[in-house]
């Protein structure tokens, strides 16, 4: 139980001090790699797993937890990942009530637009990784247009992208 709690606190420290997927990485590295509980290679593998699975990119900490502590470690990491999420509710309660106040609305609108720009910094590296030829470029462009212009469900688009890429690889 003590081990579980210690792991939870390490992961919580990392998640509480981050505001986007990968920004918890330096703390995890400092707490786990420099103390020889995890190797750099294991940390990199965990990041790859996080990229291959559904959900947020920050989900790689569950893989880190699984690697160092088995199912208990994974549970501690999951718990640390979801705990800060509830902090949004007091914000929603207070700011939601004042969202129509001009000053609050102006600031929230600005944060919304700034967030869009900030998100681009996370999406562009993913795009660079994905693009290794004309097909991924086509898939990115088609998915962007179809999302904006059509009502096709995103699940079907993702499945179609996977099948198309597999078909082209098999033909080659």
């Amino acid at each position: 139980m003590t081990e579980f709690l210690l792991l939870y606190l390490v992961f919580l420290k990392a998640t509480l001090s981050s505001f986007s997927g990968m920004t918890a990485l330096p703390i995890l590295r400092e707490e786990l790699v420099t103390t020889h509980r995890l190797t750099d290679r294991q940390l990199n593998t965990a990041i790859v797993v996080g990229r291959l699975t559904p959900g947020p990119k920050g989900g790689y900490i569950v893989s880190v937890g699984q690697t160092i502590g088995g199912w208990r470690g994974a549970t501690a990491a999951w718990l640390a990942m979801v705990t800060p999420a509830l902090l949004v509710l007091p914000l929603l309660y207070w700011l939601g009530r004042h969202a129509k106040t001009p000053a609050v609305k102006r600031s929230l609108d600005a944060v919304m637009l700034g967030s869009a720009g900030l998100s681009l910094t996370a999406v562009l590296p993913l795009a660079r990784d994905a693009i290794d030829g004309p097909l991924p470029v086509f898939l990115i462009a088609a998915a962007t247009l179809l999302f904006i212009r059509s009502k096709v469900e995103t699940v079907w688009l993702i499945l179609a992208g996977g099948v198309l890429m597999l078909g082209v690889k098999m033909l080659n």
């Binding site: 920004t23 593998t45 559904p54 920050g58 893989s63 102006r106 637009l113 990115i140 904006i148």
Partner: protein
């Protein structure tokens, strides 16, 4: 709207979208705003915006906020659990079988295609979220704020980027 419907939408978005939080947000926006009309675009944008200034994983904060707007505390907890447990379980299982999966070229190829589509969905989602703010006679201000978020995003922590945007939005209008 029943809690079960909310859970189903969250389960589908949380387990069938790859490429990080943005594509999942895009899927939720499509289902909750455009198809089912559970929330207005403004309400969805409020949940998204507040999730960005919440520490931790933004996607889970966004899911909690969406659940709270729709069904109060029970909605928030349901959305948080449904969005996080299945994807975390998949992550933990994949950690155990990672070596075997990477040796299977078909799976790697499909994942590659899925991630490319996820990138496109992210671009589409960002456009859908930002577009209403760019059509209110404030295009220069909107583009400048997006550029500010994008430019600062490479040099300082996200929370400082968002604080700068909030201050810029406030003072720009005051000027």
């Amino acid at each position: 709207m029943y809690l079960g419907d909310l859970a189903r939408v969250m389960l589908k978005a949380g387990t069938l979208t790859f490429g990080g939080g943005n594509p999942t947000t895009a899927a939720l926006q499509r289902e909750m705003v455009e198809e089912r009309h559970w929330l207005s675009g403004t309400e969805f944008a409020l949940a998204y915006t507040l999730s960005r200034i919440t520490p931790g994983t933004n996607l889970f904060a966004c899911c909690s906020a969406l659940g709270y707007l729709l069904r109060g505390w029970s909605g928030a907890l349901t959305c948080l659990l449904i969005a996080s447990v299945p994807s975390s379980l998949i992550t933990a299982l994949l950690t155990l079988g990672m070596d075997r999966l990477l040796a299977w070229p078909a799976a790697v190829a499909m994942m590659h295609g899925a991630i490319a589509v996820a990138v496109g969905l992210s671009f589409g989602s960002l456009w859908t979220l930002a577009a209403p703010y760019l059509q209110q006679g404030a295009i220069v201000r909107g583009v400048a704020l997006i550029a500010l978020g994008f430019g600062l995003g490479y040099v300082v922590s996200p929370i400082w980027v968002l604080a700068a945007c909030a201050a810029a939005g406030y003072f720009w209008s005051q000027a």
